[in-house]
Each structure stands twice: as structure tokens, then as C-alpha cells.
């Protein structure tokens, strides 16, 4: 590695101020610090630092997403095979079908998002921030598999510029960038983002008889007969195990609660995600679904789902584990985190159950609570301020 470093160091001056490629300084610096840990030593304050940095943190999140990502690819293949009657259910066949189906989306998200990051970093003279490493993989995972790349590109550009860069970049945004992308797609291109034909990749083949590509929550939201049994793509009823392990159509990265739990273990073990948010989010979701289930009505068929089914279906678990725990857009106080998580869980189920226009409420719940996070913190911090004021008054 010494040789490689020497070589890179020798071209470094060309990227510094006044060099031939000084306009690419941020990009060069981004790659350089990716390859070699910066040797900057402390100039003020403490002389030693913890090894954990922003890169490591983001990489751990990406690592936690890998089980969901790999499973999602395989599941895209499985749903395709079921829908088209393809008899070949071998692991690699299914996986690679899904892999090739979603690869363009992943590449699009990264190229557009990181491209904007690079340009903005250069304009501002900043280092490139790693936040989009996570957003870039999250975005395709929460979109339907058939989302056209150009739509994704427009949405990513919108989200990165207007939800993040205008506020100052990673650490200053108040809305989750991945969810803003998803919301943009949902509201700008509703026909391509919902319905029965976007969540299963048919790949040009004809579907088998009895095929329906509707997601479980989509089926319930559209149900007018009070029918509450959810079906797979071939019309067979889904068991709870199917729901838990994620063998049903949906936004491809978020169907498997099992894989999300693996990710959760990684995030909690490394201390990156806040257990307070996850715990209170699950409690909030469970509590609200229990309430809804007890007052189930044919008017709102989703209310017939049991709490466990509610927590396993759709994007709920994914949103709680990977979206609500985004430290930048969540509450920053510990007490605030409990409130924030609980409300996300509860609001997600409320929207899901009682607003038949939106089959899934997790995305909107997180975005809504993103907006309220600062307010919750404000109240929590104010109680600290009042305590301090009171102390001063009592003592004097």
C-alpha cells in the first residue's frame, strides 16, 4: 500500500489550490480519504481521539442494510418466477434476476446523489460528506422494483438539493433524504408508484392465470367487501411466516422483517441506532394496531390485521429501524427519542388504517415526525431550562 500511497501523494499537488485539477479537489480528497485515513493530527483541545468517524458510522449502517438488500434481490426474482410461472426456483437464478432488475436503480441513485454531493462540496470547499452512502442504498430499497431510472434520478436530485444541500449538507437537514425522495416519487408520479402492477417485475413475460401483483396492504386498502385475507401473487393466501420473512411483493428492500431484525441487531450492537427510538416505535405501532384491531370495521379493512401482522407487513419495520433512527432528523434528547419513536409508530398505523388513500403510512409518519422532532426537543430542553431557573430562584 505504501507504493500506492506514494503514487497518489505524487499527484496530490495537482489537485490542491493552484494545481491543474484544483476544480476536482473535493472529489480527489473524497477518494483519498476513502483509501487512506487522514493523517491530520489534533490542533486544539484533546490530543487523542476515538477511532470512530463519520465514514465508519455510515459503513456500519450500509452493512446493516446488506441482509435486507440481498434478500430483496432474491425476493424480486421469486415474485417474478411466481408471477410468470417460471419453474426454475434455484437460489442463484432468482437472486441474479433480482440483482439485474434493481442494479440500475442503485447505480442511478448513487451516481445522481453523489454527483450532486461532489459538486456542492467543491463549490463550498468542503470535504465530501458520507451521508449519501446510506441514502443512496436506502432510496432504491424503498421504491417499487419497476420505478423507471429517470424518475428516480429526478427524485434523488430534488431530495438531495432541496432537503439537504440547501440546509447545509449532512447534519443540517431536518427531513430524511431517502424519504423525501420516496415522497417526491409518490406524489409526483402516483400512477407509477402504487397500484397492482409496479411491485412485481415481470420482465416482459406474461403473467400466469390468477396473478395479482398487489401488495398485501394494497389489497386491503382496495378491498370493498370486507375481505381481510391477504394473498400472494398467485392467489394463495399468505401465512404469517410469509409475512415475517417477506415472501410477498412490495418495495423490494423492506418486505422481510426477519432481515430487518438482523440489521437492527447490527445497529443496536454497534450503538449507532438509538434503541429508545426503536423500542418506543415498536410499542407505539403495537399499541395503535391493538387499538385498531379491537375496533375493526369493514369500512377500514386494514384494521382487521393483528398487531403482529401490522408490524411485519409493508414498510413499518424498515421505517422504524432505518428511517426513524437517522440521528440527524430524529430527536436528539433521550426523552424526546421516546416520544418521537412512539408517535412514528402510532401515526404510521393510523395513516395505514384510516386513510385508505395511502396503503402505507410509515413514510409519511416519519416525515411528519421529522418536522416535529425539533419541537419535541424544544419542549424537553425547556424543562431543563426551567429546572435551572427554578434552582436559581430557590437558592437566591
Amino acid at each position: 500500500m505504501k507504493g500506492l500511497k506514494k503514487k497518489i501523494d505524487s499527484v496530490k499537488p495537482q489537485f490542491e489550490k493552484g494545481g491543474k485539477f484544483s476544480k476536482l479537489h473535493s472529489v480527489f480528497d473524497g477518494f483519498y480519504t476513502f483509501l487512506f485515513t487522514p493523517n491530520e493530527t489534533s490542533k486544539s483541545g484533546v490530543h487523542i481521539h476515538d477511532s470512530n468517524d463519520s465514514k465508519r458510522t455510515m459503513i456500519m449502517v450500509v452493512l446493516a442494510l446488506i441482509p435486507c438488500c440481498l434478500f430483496g434481490m432474491w425476493n424480486v426474482g421469486l415474485q417474478h418466477a411466481l408471477a410468470t410461472g417460471d419453474p426454475d426456483h434455484s437460489l442463484f437464478h432468482l437472486f441474479f434476476y433480482g440483482f439485474w432488475a434493481v442494479l440500475p436503480q442503485i447505480l442511478t441513485a448513487y451516481i445522481v446523489g453523489l454527483g450532486i454531493e461532489f459538486v456542492v462540496a467543491q463549490l463550498r470547499g468542503h470535504e465530501i460528506q458520507e451521508g449519501f452512502l446510506v441514502s443512496g442504498i436506502l432510496i432504491p430499497m424503498i421504491c417499487p422494483v419497476s420505478t423507471p431510472c429517470w424518475m428516480l434520478a429526478v427524485a434523488v436530485a430534488f431530495a438531495v438539493i432541496f432537503a439537504k444541500e440547501v440546509f447545509g449538507g449532512t447534519g443540517y437537514n431536518f427531513l430524511n433524504v431517502a424519504l423525501v425522495t420516496r415522497a417526491f416519487l409518490f406524489f409526483a408520479y402516483p400512477s407509477q408508484m402504487s397500484g397492482d402492477n409496479v411491485f412485481v417485475s415481470l420482465g416482459g413475460a406474461n403473467a400466469v392465470d390468477g396473478y395479482s401483483g398487489a401488495t398485501p396492504l394494497g389489497q386491503l386498502a382496495a378491498s370493498t367487501t370486507g375481505q381481510v385475507e391477504v394473498l400472494g401473487v398467485t392467489g394463495d393466501p399468505l401465512s404469517y411466516a410469509d409475512m415475517f420473512f417477506g415472501f410477498y411483493p412490495g418495495s423490494w428492500g423492506e418486505t422481510s422483517t426477519f432481515c430487518i431484525l438482523i440489521g437492527l441487531v447490527i445497529l443496536l450492537a454497534t450503538g449507532i441506532a438509538s434503541w429508545r427510538i426503536v423500542l418506543s416505535g415498536i410499542v407505539g405501532g403495537f399499541f395503535m394496531s391493538l387499538l385498531a384491531h379491537n375496533f375493526a370495521t369493514p369500512l377500514y379493512p386494514v384494521t382487521y390485521l393483528t398487531p403482529l401482522e401490522q408490524l411485519s407487513l409493508g414498510g413499518f419495520a424498515f421505517a422504524i429501524v432505518f428511517m426513524a433512527t437517522d440521528p440527524v432528523t430524529a430527536c436528539r434528547t433521550n426523552i424526546g427519542k421516546y416520544i418521537y419513536g412512539f408517535l412514528i409508530g402510532a401515526v404510521a398505523i393510523i395513516i395505514r388504517c384510516y386513510n385508505t388513500g395511502y396503503p402505507e403510512g410509515a413514510m409519511l409518519a416519519v416525515l411528519l415526525m421529522n418536522c416535529f422532532a425539533s419541537l419535541i426537543d424544544y419542549c424537553v430542553v425547556n424543562s431543563n431550562i426551567n429546572r435551572r431557573l427554578k434552582r436559581a430562584i430557590v437558592k437566591n
Binding site: 476513502f34 485515513t37 490530543h47 487523542i48 481521539h49 470512530n52 434528547t333
Partner: protein, 441 residues
Amino acid sequence: MAEKIRIKKGFNIPLAGAPSSIVTDDRLTSVFAISPDDFPGPVWKAVVKTDDKVNAGDPLLIDKASGKICLVSPVSGKVIDVHRGERRHIEYISVAKDSENGAVIISSEDSKNVKDQILRSGLWAMMRQRPFDVVPDPGVAPRDIFVTAFDSAPLAGELLSDDLKKWLEEGLKVLSTLTSGKVYLGIKPDSGITSNVAEVYEFEGPHPAGNVGTQIAAIKPVNKGETVWTIDAASAAKIGKLVKTGEIDLTATVAITGPDVKDPHLVRTLIGASIDSLLKDALVKEEGVRIISGNVLTGIRVQKNGFLHYPYRQITVIDEGEDADEFMGWASVNPGKFSVKRSFPAFLRGFSKPFHFDARIKGGHRAMILSGEYDKVFPFDIYPEFLLKAIMAKDIDKMEKLGIYEVAPEDFALPEFVDTSKIELQKTVREGLDYLRKELS
């Protein structure tokens, strides 16, 4: 019986190079220096010129405002340099020793009352005042005085030598005459220190349990409009000795510590001793090291030709590390890479075995991203992130409300160490305190 307080939030950094209890005498050092920057608050004025002859205990600098607070010469000899930096700012005044100190007695006319005696002896400047973490204004009466009897910082030596221990009670007595409130003494468990004049609290737990700021927060926090003074027990004992005998104790027991020190131990010398003589033949290597006067969290970086800085009790030597080339460090699974977080495998190895640190910040500067990191090592009823943001925004009202009067930069040392975003927290707090002091004066 001392009341027990358990500090839960904090961390003992497992840095290699803890000192043994062996104490050697420093016979080499011939040049000593006092740096006024170590004593923030007053504007200091030099009262000596280059080539002046001074005796040990003679003032080198006095504060402009009252003319009473002195910083004194540690030795008898000739002033060799009144070193000035930009805009004629005095960086240090160095004195070459020409004879060994006997007992340094200040003349009786200088010590009409106890306060004047302490001011004149240079020991006043060893005290700090909160708010603002500055040398106390002698004209203000403090609510209380807080004394800490131990140093919990990484690799710190014993704060109180046996010799000084016997003067501590005397010192606490003197301090109690300076305040209408109480004198509080913070001790560590099983230290065997007792007092009849001070209220004694026993602090158990990791660093920053020994920081006086932590102790104030646990005993009786500072409110707006209040002033408290803080001092370490060694200086308090020296005050006791001064008032009882008239003798200024200018000695300093310095722990020579760190992974790059061959044989970490204690050295008995005088305040402001030159670094190169203290570290003669003591280092594992001469190049690529960072010498810190103080501990790794709050110390001041010095060069070999520099001097020991306030609080004159520790030198830490670590690798600078700027020539390290670590390939894809963010992907490292090296168990020797220290992190309090479990995203590195260091935790598997346990933190009881010491780690080798270097001075790299090990990452890029970012905005505050992760939340709750600071709170885990910050034992105050304060929201550190919000206070820091108020300081960065220069919002005086918010700073006051969020508790800036209770803190000193050193309280933010551990948060700065664990910070994923590598923000210079202590510098931020110092700037905030200075800004506030300027605006409110």
C-alpha cells in the same frame, strides 16, 4: 463521614504509560518559565526586564487591573527572556537559575492580611472561578469554594504528596475565611483524607469524577449571578503552608507519562521547569513524538525547548502519528484501534489492557451527526449539544439558559474525545466563555 457520590457518566481512557510511584529529584533543570496564557482572565503586565536579577518568589507578572495578583519566579537567577509574540503579547518569561532555592519566605510587609499574602505568593493564580473559568477577581466574594483532592485524568499521578497532605487542613481553614459560604472537598474512595472545616464528599466512578466541575455539578451547581472558586488540593495545601509559615512552596511533582516514555515515574521539580531537561533520556524515541504538558485531554502541546505549563503536574508523550498510512482505516478490524463504540472490535479485547494512541484525529471534520454521544461522558444536568450549538450561534440568552455558567472547557474534553464528527469542543467552549465575559463586562 464523607457523603458518597457515584459518577456514572464518564470513561477512563486506557492509555499506555501510567507512572510508577517512584519519585526522583530533578537536578538538571536550570531554566524555568512562567507563561501568562496559562492564567486566563487578567491582563498580565511584566514587571521584570531581560537580564534583571530576581529572587525565587519575586513577581514576574502582575495583573493590570488590581495590581495585586502576582505570578512569581520559581527560582533565583537572571531573567533571560521576556518572550513576546504577535502584538507584543507576552508568551513567557524565562529565568535561569543561579542558586538552589532555600525556603522562599515573603517579607512580612507584603502579608498584612491573608488575602494579600496569597495574592502576592502567586498561589492566587492557581485558583479558578466559575463562571468563565478564569483566575478569580479578588474583589468578589464567592458563594463557595470547591477543592478537588484527586486527578482522574488519563495517567495522572497522585495529586497530593505526603508532604503536602499535612498542610491541607490548614489550607482549607484559610480558604474558609475567604468565603461566607462553605468549602467543599472532593476526595476519591479510600483516600483517608478528612477535614473538620470543609464538607467532604467522596466521588466514585470514572473520569471526570476528579474534575472539580463534575463535583460542583453533583454537590451544588452554579446559578446565574453566582460565583464559586475552585482549586486543587495541592495548591490549597500550599496556601495553608504559606499562611502558617510564610513560605511559598514552588515545588511541583510531575508525572512523566505516556506510551513513548521509557520508565514512567514522578519527578520532583519546580513550577515552569524546562521540558528538555525533564525528559532527558526519558523517551523511547526522539522523533515523531508529541509532548504534552498536562494530560492528553486538556494538556498543552509543547516543543522540546518549551516549559511545563499550569497545572504543573504531568507530562504526557505520545506518537504524533502524522506519517502513519492507514489503508481504508474505516474498514479496519484491528482490535488495537481504540473506540468506545462497538463499531470497532476493540471492545472484544476489553479496556483493561492499555492502548497506544497517537495524535491523529482519525477522521474528517463533520457537522454534529450522531446524537447522545456527548451525554454519555458528560455528568452534568446540561444538554451539551444544545449548549454547544448556542455557543456556536453566539446566542447569549440561550447559553445562559442552557447552563454555560456551570462549565469550563475541560468538562468537554471527554465529549471531544468520543466525538465522531471531530469538532473542537473545548475550543468552542473557551471562545464562548470569553465572548460572554466580554459582552457582559
